[in-house]
């Protein structure tokens, strides 16, 4: 066997780079904005204030929530937001 000058190791990763996504295009109209509560304590306090400020400026607000902060938002929640709203604000809390 010839002496190796390099050492070969096997890639321990899944060999997939997370997909890089460009920012979505800015919506021309911000009429309806979703506010998502991820269900952390006092997230509602922050979102209540945001809702007040948005309504003052003439926006419609749709309040929605994840079932639990520990898990990704279910597809239905994401789809509802995408269908009904122009933009979304998520309160991460903590």
């Amino acid at each position: 066997m010839t002496a190796l000058e390099t050492l070969e190791i096997l890639d321990p990763t899944a060999e997939v780079d997370p997909e890089g996504r460009p920012l979505a295009g800015r919506p021309p109209d911000l009429r309806t904005i979703a506010l998502v509560d991820i269900r952390k304590p006092r997230g509602d306090v922050f979102l209540d204030e945001l809702e007040r400020l948005l309504r003052e400026r003439g926006h419609e607000v749709q309040r929605t929530a994840k079932p639990t902060f520990t898990k990704p938002a279910p597809a239905d929640v994401r789809k509802e937001i995408a269908t009904r709203c122009d933009a979304v604000i998520e309160a991460l809390a903590d």
Binding site: M1, T2, E5, T6, L7, E8, I9, L10, D11, P12, T13, A14, E15, V16, P18, T68, F69, T70, K71, P72, D94
Partner: protein
Amino acid sequence: MAAELLVLVKHDCEVCDQVLPVLDAAAVAGAPLRILSQSSPEDTAAQARRVGLRSVPDTDVDLEVSARFDPDAVPTVVLLDGGEERGRVEGLHRARLAELAGRAGAELALDGLPELRPGCASRTRDPDVAATLAARRARAEGRLRARALELGALEDPFEALHDRGLTDGLPGVPPTPERVVGMLEYTGRDPQDVVGAVPPYGGDATVEKVAINAVMAGCPGEALPIVLAAVEAACVESFAWHGLIATTYPAGPTVVVSGPLAAETGMNAEGNALGQGNRANVTIGRTLQLVGRNVGGGRPGVEDRATHGQMGKLGSCFAERLDETAPWPGLAQDRGVPADETGVTLMATEGPRVIVDQLAREPEGLCASLALALESVAHPKQRLAFDALLVVGPEHGRVFREAGWDRARVQERLFELTTSPAGELARGAGGSPEGIEPRFVSDPDMPVAKFAGPDRILLAHAGGDAGLFSMVYGSWAAGEIGSAPVTVSVEPWR
């Protein structure tokens, strides 16, 4: 195509030295004969000079031809016809060699050589070479599919693993194809079987990828089936590994191994079982975390948002002590794994802490002590949101064993005793703003349970003979709202 003879030799073999001049003379005389040496060109040339050959044999580069014919010993003479093997002689066997050569129309001047002499081990049988050839074969057959990373001659492989972001802060064993193929010997599963999709990015944990990370973690091969079972459990949706990786909470997966394979693997269930010093305990947990980092892509400070973290996130694993000191059967067996199998229970936990009770000698008093300490999981005012894994030490376990209290009875009693009056748990009580919202507190004397049920206090048995201690691991956000413990059998991964 005419018949021909292929001869495999090596330089440091006396039998080759004896046979080579005869073969060399036959080749010079025009016999259809090709000699290949398993040694380097320099060693082969030196051997040719030493034994007086007229031509220097070619070299079997990278042992490709030797690997194909896979002889036990050299010299090996193979009769080929149209490239197909029609017969062979390994070692020196005059009569058989003469017969084989005759079939190729060649005559060998074998007079004066011993009648029979075993050859020397083929280079392909050297352990290091055999491992390389096994790796090459695994690659050719599609059992190894991971991308090969070339580390430069001047690169320190340990530093390179750090530099490429593939480790957890401790050195990793470089996962060479040879080591990975050796690791894969310890499971009967196909290396391309998918164990699970690992969050946060959903990378496929194939058996091969888990084995690569097991090599890096320093895992003994015997423990690979346990690791595979742990990865399977972690990828079950109700375990919520995605959230566990991403959370600010200082929690990670703790692996509890229950059953005979724990001892066969050399795991420690006794003194210091939750600590350092036992290779299998430490590296099983570490492999699971490396799989999360490398296959799932969860990196501390990036996807992993832990506020503090804790050292158990390097890896947290221990074996249950199920010998004659055990007060009850194993945790995995209690959760459905057959009695003669080994099971793995995975739970999302913080680091463990001790509960000291040196005076209780009867189960009621011991439960009262344990319950007091269990109230503090996460925060005494946190109710129904966290589970606990209570690791009962043998000196505490003896109290339950001698009193005949089984696991369910202890769980039930601990559940009853971990209640507090609502008034003490409300926001503001005791001066602490944390707690239950006042609108939920109609009666300040109403007892409020700490845990969502008796079965949310998981009981395991482990530890050394001396010490009136138990250990408690608080969970991460538990059950439906977070992570539920998952138990699987190791059997399918053996």
